[in-house]
């Protein structure tokens, strides 16, 4: 008997059909991956399954309770682990919370599921991976028969991902039906038993994972060939960015992409912030403008540093371009609108119109606007910090192609990425950062995954 049935679900938002005639059935014990590009309707469909949203039509039949682990954890940082886990279902003694019983209950659920946790730890002091455990424990306390996991590994380190899936597998083995919303195809292939693909609000395929390939899934997601990263052009290179500080000596020439490889937290943010002028630095840093705007920036955190979420697409496209858009004492809104239109077209931004607040867009579409804005004035230097983080394969390939195009028209591109695969695919040269220093450089012809990896780990 299925644990959860979604039949002929349809859901529209103003201007968009988010989910169209979708059927999805989850069985006890299975790990069901729901994949699709950003904006394909995965999040809407899981919100409907969780009864957070009401469908316009169709039926939802759940046998037992449904739990949802959010992509952005819904935790209270200043409260303790047990307070977060048992919020709303606190064990009582008279009028007060029985803290002793609460700790014991949290310890019990954790132990039963093979999760290590200190019930008294304050959540904000815990690493991300452990915080997710807290979020998971809160759902497990309700003994759900269906557990929905929305992009559960987006914030996790590789070692945390492995142990996370061990837990998930154990849960499934105990008869919980599990649905994982994701766009990481490696994880789909490694851990799921069934995979359902969504595209433009419709379910395009449901199949056993064992009988398919990552390529086939990717193709079903984007509906055709995956856009290939555009070809490189060779040309003589003139210096553009030159950095000389105590720790870093780095040159990026016009017409090349230099990748910065390194594990998060090895000085990449300091480097980026020095270039953008957010923080002071010792030493010299120069950018050869060649008559262009000097710098286009794709910041690391699009929601915190790149966009004003409540503003429209047009207004966000104006941000940081005051010099370019100046017309006397005013800003040229018409040109900004044209620019926004160009960006929407070149990057295939899916939005009802250019005046909607960017917070209503999916993460991938938001990122496309950020990248489009950084490139539209054809700056001499492009600084891209994890430009494809948290977006789907199709959007990522598009962003990478546009960076390569910028390089081909003569821009210097500094690409800081925590994903070595991305750098190996796109960069002309890779510099490795470890503990704030550049510990090695590799020309494309000498790219060596093993050697780069050892430098990243500080082993060489």
């Amino acid at each position: 008997m299925p644990a959860l049935e979604l039949r002929s679900i349809r859901k529209t938002f103003p201007g968009v059909v988010a989910v169209d005639d979708a059927d999805l059935v989850l069985y006890p014990g299975e790990i069901h991956a729901l994949v699709g590009e950003n904006g394909a309707g995965k999040s809407t469909l899981s919100a409907i399954a969780f009864a957070e949203l009401k469908p316009d039509s169709g039926t939802v039949i759940a046998h037992g309770t449904v739990g949802l682990v959010h992509q952005h954890f819904e935790l209270v940082g200043r409260l303790r682990v047990w307070e977060n886990v048992l919020l709303g279902r606190e064990p009582r003694r008279g009028w007060t919370i029985d803290a002793h019983a609460a700790r014991k209950r949290v310890r019990d659920i954790a132990e039963r599921n093979g999760l290590r946790i200190d019930p008294d730890a304050v959540v904000e002091t815990l690493p991300i991976g452990v915080q997710q455990r807290v979020e998971l424990l809160r759902e497990l306390d309700r003994e759900p028969s269906v557990l929905l996991l929305d992009e559960p590994t987006a914030a996790l380190a590789p070692s945390e991902i492995e142990s996370f899936f061990q837990t998930v597998k154990a849960l499934a083995a105990c008869g919980t039906a599990i649905m994982i919303v994701t766009h990481k195809l490696q994880e789909v292939m490694a851990y799921s038993s069934t995979v359902t693909v969504m595209r433009h609000g419709r379910i395009t395929a449901t199949m056993p994972t064992a009988s398919t390939t990552a390529e086939a899934i990717a193709q079903a997601m984007v509906g055709g060939e995956i856009p290939k990263v555009a070809a490189r052009e060779e040309r003589p290179l003139a210096p553009c960015l030159s950095i000389r500080t105590g720790d870093i000596s780095l040159d990026v020439r016009s017409g090349e992409i230099v990748g910065i490889a390194g594990v998060e937290g090895n000085g990449q943010t300091t480097l980026a912030d020095s270039i953008t002028g957010m923080i002071p630095y010792d030493g010299t840093l120069s950018i050869e403008r060649n008559g262009r705007p000097p710098l286009g920036v794709i910041p690391q955190d699009r929601q915190a540093e790149a966009l004003v979420l409540a503003w429209s697409i047009v207004d966000n496209v104006m941000l940081g371009r005051q010099q370019v858009l100046r017309r006397g004492a005013l800003l040229d809104r018409e040109r900004a609108r044209t620019d926004a239109q160009t960006i929407a077209q070149r990057f295939d931004v899916r939005a009802a119109n250019l005046d909607v607040a960017v917070k209503t867009l999916s993460g991938g579409n938001q990122q496309k606007i950020v990248v489009g804005r950084a490139l539209i004035d054809e700056p001499a230097l492009v600084l891209a910090y994890n430009p494809t983080r948290g977006i789907d394969v199709g959007a990522a390939a598009l962003v990478q192609s546009r960076l390569i195009e910028a390089r081909n028209r003569g821009a210097a591109v500094l690409l800081i990425s925590f994903e070595l695969d991305e750098l190996l695919a796109v960069a002309d040269r890779i510099a490795v950062m470890y503990r704030g220093r550049i510990t090695g450089e590799f020309e494309r012809i000498a790219f060596d995954r093993g050697a780069i990896g050892r430098l990243m780990a500080g082993l060489a």
């Binding site: 949802l68 819904e74 209270v76 940082g77 409260l79 307070e83 919020l87 709303g88 279902r89 009582r92």
Partner: protein, 285 residues
């Protein structure tokens, strides 16, 4: 010695209305709503208490009416801040203006005179009950917030209302209740001003105590007991002004009256950057 005991008594009396309002402020802000309307809710409580005491000759009914009036003003802010997601500062300021203006107009309607009400039956010596009650409520609220399920939920709601929703509870209902309670407490503080300490309502008698209470909330780090201690400090400065009046001839009386406000300003400047408000304080859900 005499002057010292007089100072202590006066400090407690002057602190009491600020304590009530500050406790209201703590509850509201811990749930995630900044109650800038405390001042107006105090005025509503003070005015209504005086009117009802005048009409019934029963000051106790007046106190209850003051609580209800403050609670209603709190409910208005709560609905504006939750259901309609109005900016909390704007809505609270609106409540301050409406309550002050409404009371001024009410004086003319009921007593046919602007500025102040006629003298009404006051609590008299019984006002001590309300002084003691303020401190008792502070202890009770501290206990409720830190030990009970309701307290945990209110605190979670002020930090991250979505966590409350994820736990299957209604953050808006929690906030509505907290802000209404906040108004009721401020109303009680107002009632103490008009028919506890005095026996009439006069325009502007709250004199910024609602804002002083907001300072006490921050100075007391959003804890009921901390806010109460801060209120006592502000009460002390207000009391000092009476005790010192005429004793320091070179200082003008106006400067003396400014003492509690200056104290609040200095206190706030001193703690800024070293205290941490609830993460979702003032953020609509």
């Amino acid at each position: 010695m005499e002057i010292l005991s007089a100072l202590i008594v006066l400090t407690l009396i002057k602190a009491t209305p600020i304590i009530y309002a500050a406790l209201g402020g703590v509850i509201s802000e811990r749930s995630g709503v900044i109650n800038i309307g405390l001042e107006g809710m105090m005025a509503a409580g003070a005015f209504t208490a005086a009117i009802v005491s005048y009409a019934t000759n029963a000051p106790l009914l007046g106190v209850l009416a003051g609580i209800v009036a403050g609670g209603l003003a709190g409910l208005v802010l709560a609905i504006a801040a939750t259901r309609f997601k109005v900016d909390q500062i704007v809505a609270g300021t609106g409540i301050n203006l409406i309550c002050a203006g409404g009371a001024a107009y009410g004086l003319v309607l009921v007593f046919n005179q602007p500025g102040a009400s006629k003298q009404v039956n006051a609590l008299g010596p019984n006002y001590w009950v309300l002084v003691v009650l303020a401190f008792a409520l502070a202890i009770a609220l501290q206990w409720l917030l830190s030990r009970t399920p309701w307290g945990l939920r209110v605190r979670a709601c002020g930090e991250n209302p979505r966590s409350v929703a994820a736990a299957g509870l209604d953050p808006l209902a929690l906030r509505t209740f907290a802000v209404t309670l906040s108004g009721a407490l401020a109303g009680l503080g107002g009632a103490f001003l008009s028919i506890g300490e005095l026996n009439l309502y006069s325009d502007g008698m709250t004199a910024g105590r609602g804002f002083i209470a907001l300072a006490a909330v921050i100075f007391g780090r959003w804890n009921p007991l901390g806010a109460t201690a801060a209120s006592v400090v502000f009460g002390l400065f207000e009391a000092l002004q009476y005790v010192l009046q005429g004793k320091i001839s070179w200082l003008p009386a106006d400067a003396m009256q400014a003492l509690p406000y200056i104290a609040a300003l200095i206190a706030l400047a001193g703690v800024t950057g070293r205290v941490r408000a609830p993460a979702s304080d003032g953020v609509p859900y």
